[in-house]
């Protein structure tokens, strides 16, 4: 692949890949305003009927509230755990550090369906299954690795002598944490909050297994999809997309631009 022609062919191919990746997202947006019950080309008339349907549905609101509660609690817990782990790894050298990191980083490599079954079985055995907080406990395990990774990357950029300087000036470890480490990690912490909230907001496999009757929004969608072709799904999908995107864009703004600005 050389020369101008090759380059243009490659660029065209990149656009094709992007078209494949974004086709279902764009289609779902378009179909959410399409009047036909079974969406196809040519499009039917414009309607907001599907949005009206979901807004009038108690099940939707209950699920949406559960999802908000779950992702809010999850993002705080996961970020706190991720921060503690990232800081431990940054500051200390100890025996078994590899295994220590393995334990937090492992969950995303295990298929969600396996985690779902394992958590359902264990939570039922211990008697903490089928509640909204069950989903929070599970999602925290699944999202903490991402929080840890983001905050660890931020700490990597910190001058190690900053903390030591604070100690030499008489600050206790706790005070150095409060006045040096935490402020330095703030963009990463914010970014981690948004990102883990977004992941939790979209997760449905584990949530489906452990939530019992306290469905979250993606589980609600899963149950609609299992029934019939219902364009409601497109409307919910579009709303969920807006929420997730807001969170992710905020997270990325924190990662990309805040770090760049504060870099020397």
């Amino acid at each position: 692949m050389s020369g101008r022609a090759g380059t243009w062919v490659l660029r065209g191919y990149v656009l094709l890949v992007f078209a494949f990746v974004f086709a279902p997202i764009v289609m779902s947006l378009i179909f959410s305003f399409n009047a036909d019950r079974f969406p196809t080309i040519p499009l039917g008339g414009f309607t907001t009927h599907w949005y009206a349907t979901i807004f009038a549905d108690d099940g939707f609101w209950r699920a949406a509230r559960n999802s908000l509660v779950v992702s809010a609690c999850t993002c705080i817990l996961a970020t706190a755990l991720g921060f503690c782990t990232a800081y431990s790894d940054y500051r200390y050298r100890f025996r078994g550090q590899g295994a220590y990191l393995g334990i937090i980083l492992l969950p995303p490599t295990i298929p969600l369906i396996i985690m779902a079954l394992a958590m359902l079985a264990w939570f039922s055995r211990v008697g903490i299954s089928g509640q909204v907080y069950s989903v929070v406990l599970a999602h925290t395990v699944l999202t903490a690795p991402f929080a840890m990774a983001i905050i660890r990357l931020r700490l990597e950029r910190m001058d190690a002598s900053l903390e030591a300087a604070a100690w030499n000036l008489g600050a206790s470890e706790w005070r150095a944490m409060r006045e040096v480490i935490l402020p330095f990690c703030r963009p990463a912490i914010l970014s981690s909050l948004f990102l883990t909230a977004a992941i939790s907001f979209d997760e449905f496999t584990v949530a489906w297994f452990v939530s019992g009757l306290n469905k979250t929004l993606p589980v609600h969608v899963l149950e609609i999809v299992q029934g019939t072709i219902d364009p409601q799904v497109n409307a919910i999908g579009t709303l969920v997309f807006l929420v997730s995107m807001t969170l992710v864009v905020l997270a990325q703004l924190m990662i990309f631009f805040r770090i760049q600005r504060s870099a020397p």
């Binding site: 692949m1 380059t7 191919y13 990149v14 890949v17 992007f18 494949f20 990746v21 974004f22 279902p24 997202i25 289609m27 179909f31 079974f38 969406p39 196809t40 706190a80 755990l81 503690c84 782990t85 431990s88 500051r91 200390y92 100890f94 220590y100 334990i103 492992l106 969950p107 490599t109 295990i110 298929p111 369906i113 396996i114 079954l117 958590m119 359902l120 079985a121 264990w122 939570f123 925290t140 395990v141 903490a144 100690w167 706790w174 944490m177 979209d202 449905f204 496999t205 993606p218 969608v221 899963l222 999809v225 072709i229 799904v233 497109n234 999908g237 969920v240 997309f241 997730s244 992710v248």
Partner: protein, 282 residues
């Protein structure tokens, strides 16, 4: 530095250990134990019997499902790698830094949109009376059956894995020292040979890791084979769901889950060993 193990150090080190022990390792170990439990009168009893294992391993449909899932995940991993490569190559070598950054930013987006909704969208697009067949029908082709086939499943797997594979490959390729390629050119290597003999060996680790991620994600996904593949035949994740939700046969579902974990462990280990193996001295 004050590397002492005091209350301060423990405050930061212990929480994750306790949390993962309770809610990550606990469930996994319990699930393994559960595969030896007994089910009597629809109630699970804690026991240590091989019954579930014997039953599941002697069933033909379990093995059919196993090889089908393995084959489809391998196909998805290969397809995603091949489809992603030209795009990653273009993004790494034929675009500016800022375009690459934007491309990666965009490719992260689908990761945070509902995979379920995207699959539903494909369902509508691929259906007999869907968008693609309507378009093809306008020029006198089709209709083609794409739903409830292996092709449908593969489209779903690509939806799940392609963005990630493109990102990982792009980052890998962009990390190759360009002077390596320039040197090959200067030494008379024709352009079409630089990819197999310079670019791919230099990018091996990242390429294999990307393919491995695609494999793991596809292997564990139930949405694509269920909604787009029509569950014909059911993959292992679908088997877990059916066994858990319908029959209350949790121990048998645990057997399938443990088989999946062992398989993934072996494949991941082999792939990583291969990815990091140094090339024999030339």
């Amino acid at each position: 530095m004050k590397p002492r193990l005091n209350a301060y150090a423990l405050t930061f080190r212990l929480p994750i250990l306790i949390w993962q022990a309770l809610f990550f390792l606990g469930p996994l170990l319990f699930m393994i134990a559960m595969s030896f439990f007994l089910v009597r009168n629809y109630r699970m009893e804690e026991a240590f019997v091989m019954k579930n294992w014997e039953r599941m391993l002697s069933r033909g449909f379990v093995w059919d499902s196993y090889w089908y899932t393995l084959g489809m995940a391998a196909l998805a991993s290969l397809t995603a790698s091949l489809l992603a490569f030209p795009a990653a190559f273009a993004l790494a070598f034929r675009t500016s830094e800022s375009v690459r950054r934007w491309a990666i930013f965009l490719l992260v987006i689908p990761f945070f949109t509902s995979y379920l909704v995207r699959t539903f969208s494909w369902y509508v697009i691929l259906a007999e009376s869907g968008v693609i067949n309507a378009g093809l029908g306008a020029v006198g082709l089709g209709p083609f059956t794409m739903l409830n086939t292996a092709f449908g499943t593969l489209v779903g797997y690509m939806t799940l894995t392609l963005p990630l594979v493109v990102i990982l490959q792009t980052v890998t390729l962009a990390g190759i020292d360009p002077s390596l390629i320039q040197a090959a050119r200067n030494l008379g290597c024709p352009p079409w040979r630089t990819i197999p003999s310079v670019v791919l060996p230099a990018a091996k680790t990242g390429m294999v890791v990307a393919a491995l991620f695609a494999f793991i994600l596809s292997f564990g996904d139930f949405v694509a084979p269920y909604y787009l593949g029509g569950s014909k035949p059911p993959t292992l994740p679908i088997l877990i769901i059916d066994t858990t939700k319908a029959g209350q046969q949790w121990p048998r579902a645990a057997v399938v889950a443990v088989i999946m974990m062992v398989t993934l462990f072996v494949i991941a280990f082999a792939a990583i060993a291969f990815a990091y193996r140094r090339r024999a001295s030339r």
